[in-house]
Amino acid sequence: MKKSLSFAAAMLCGALAFSQAACASSASDKFFIGGTGPLTGNVLYGVPVKKGAELAIEQINAQGGLNGIKFQFEMLDDEAAADKAKTGYNTLYSKGMQASIGSVTTASCIAFAAEAEVDNMFFITPSASSPKAIEASNAYRICFGDPDQGDYAYDYLKDKYTKIGVIYQSDDTYSSGVFKKFKENVDANPAIALTEASYTSSTKTNFSSQITQLKAAGAEAVFLSMYVEQAYLIVKEAKAQSFKPAFLGTDGLDGLASFAAESGEEDLVKGIKYITPFDVTSTDSTISAFVAAYKAKYNEVPDQFAADGYDAVMVIYNAMKTANVTDVDIKPSDLCAKITEVLQGGMSYKGATGTMTWNKNGEPVKTALIYEIK
């Protein structure tokens, strides 16, 4: 008696689950864009990406959507962890996601990409910068790839300094990805002496030995391939040890000025330069319109992640517009084919992070700026 009852219950649950999955994609009357990003945990880059994306959705829907069909957006929290990004993808897929902005951080995006490849789901990640994350043909990116930043940094420093130091995190894909290309370039140039110093995720709060090393080597400029918190600690340590090189950072340093301002230390970071596609002070009409709209909606200044999130959604919208998509129930794989055809066909997009087109690997082709903290 008990066995057959539990068996019946199991069958009922199974039937419900199947019907849920089958119903999901046709239940909606909107185009569904989804993504994952770290909304909680040690890194919180998903928060500005989500804000930028939601601003874009709001603007798109305010103009009536595409061919009369509005858009909906959902970003799930993946805590910058690969396994959570994978579950996030599956949850979004079962909810009827048709195109995606992928995951915000590299490791999560690689996991996301693996799932998306199976379904041929189009995604364009705002910020996962490792080339590994966008290897498949359905995967694109808004921001620079890590090797590109290594090239830009080298190009900027090579004619100015002969003794260069570099600090990077050896167990972080982003940090070591940029470092590798940078080192490759420098090693091929006999005129530059390079001193390397590294750290790991468990030693990323103490930089006294790295600064001591670089100071002893007499580095005139130090390239920082990392994120805000570590850069802040390094600059502070350098000051404490009276070491005053020129600092150049990657786009991970975006937000350093406001981070230092929290403790009243704006002077500490003045003069530090970093590579960025997004200049919040730009007078360009598209960029300043974005900044104004973001400020009006959220009462804060957008950073590069917010700009990337905004652009990611806008690129999907513009590609769908060019391809004239009219079917609200379009399958992810068909939508992917239409979008990639448009992007590979040379579509150019002018957005908050500049004007860009895409090459055959899904990498963006755009110009970089060197931004100096004033």
Binding site: T40, A197, T200, T203, N206, A216, A240, F259
Partner: protein, 291 residues
């Protein structure tokens, strides 16, 4: 010459570990339990200092004072609520409770302050130049203050009646009770002193690594535990020696680019080696059991 700079950094960080290890060792010696929530007391002290400096006034001394008050209150409360009811229970139960308290405090901090690291500037100090050497002023101050604290503690424990009753309880609780020592009060006092030291440790840790986040106490806490074991758990001079040795070892490991990624592994393998070869540490008492 970089060896001297590394040594000074090591001594400075080591004295922070020593202050934390003192808390571990005293609580173990007197209450016979390992308070794994000690790292979170440090974190609480750091947040208290942050709030003082940003919301009340810019005074470094006030920050230490407020941190000490907050930590003492927190430590004593945790002892009353979580550990005292388990007085007669198995050591494993107390250990697990301590870990639970640790997670509870981390989550509490996350709810109140958020999980994003916050930068904090406690003191503006210029580096000190001696000849061709530049030494971080923060390192010297930390060394100085820690030395003062440790000396004061040693004098208190061996010189005053209350201090000696603490020693008595750690040696033989039953006998101490028979001699009229109020064991409960002594244990509470131990937690209070340990927490106050943790507050000082937290503030000086912030001076060298100016980032506050809910998980900041975990690593220094565990490393200080290793230091306490290295020096002999239950021994006050042992904790001081262990802390300093550990800090210096860690800094030298990190100064070599080849070994640097493994500096944490080296620190923790010290724990393994000590437990294998000399479990009582440097100054721990060898307990002889008469059969």
């Amino acid at each position: 010459m970089t060896y001297l700079a590394t040594l000074i950094n090591g001594l400075s960080l080591g004295s922070v570990y020593a202050l934390i290890a003192l808390g571990y060792t005293m609580v173990y010696g007197i209450a016979k339990m390992l308070n794994f929530a000690h790292g979170e007391i440090i974190m609480a002290g750091a947040y208290a200092a942050l709030v003082t400096v940003t919301k009340i006034t810019d005074s470094f001394l006030l920050a230490i004072l407020v941190a000490a008050v907050v930590c003492v209150l927190l430590g004593v409360t945790v002892e009353k609520i979580a550990y005292r009811p388990l007085r007669g229970a198995s050591p494993l139960a107390v250990l697990i409770t301590a870990i639970g308290v640790s997670y509870f405090l981390q989550s509490l901090a996350q709810i109140i302050f958020g999980s994003k690291p916050i930068s904090v500037n406690l003191l503006e100090l210029n580096p000190i130049k001696i000849g061709t050497l530049t030494i971080k002023a923060e390192a010297l101050i930390t060394l100085g203050v820690s030395a003062v604290c440790m000396t004061a503690l040693t004098c208190f424990v061996s010189g005053t009646k209350t201090g000696r009753s603490m020693l008595a309880v750690s040696e033989d609780r039953a006998a101490a009770e028979l001699m009229g020592v109020d064991v409960e009060k002594t244990i509470t006092l131990t937690f209070a002193i340990g927490s106050a030291l943790a507050a000082v440790a937290g503030v000086f840790y912030l001076l060298q690594i100016p980032l506050v986040q809910p998980t900041m106490g975990a690593m220094p806490g565990i490393k200080a535990f290793v230091a306490a074991v290295l020096g002999g758990i239950g021994s006050i001079p042992g904790a001081m020696l262990g802390g300093i040795l550990l800090g210096v070892t860690e800094q030298f490991a990190q100064s070599s680019p080849a070994i640097a990624p493994y500096s944490d592994a080296i620190v923790f393998s010290i724990l393994i080696v000590v437990l294998l070869l000399r479990p009582t540490g440097f100054f721990g008492k060898k307990r002889i059991e008469k059969v």
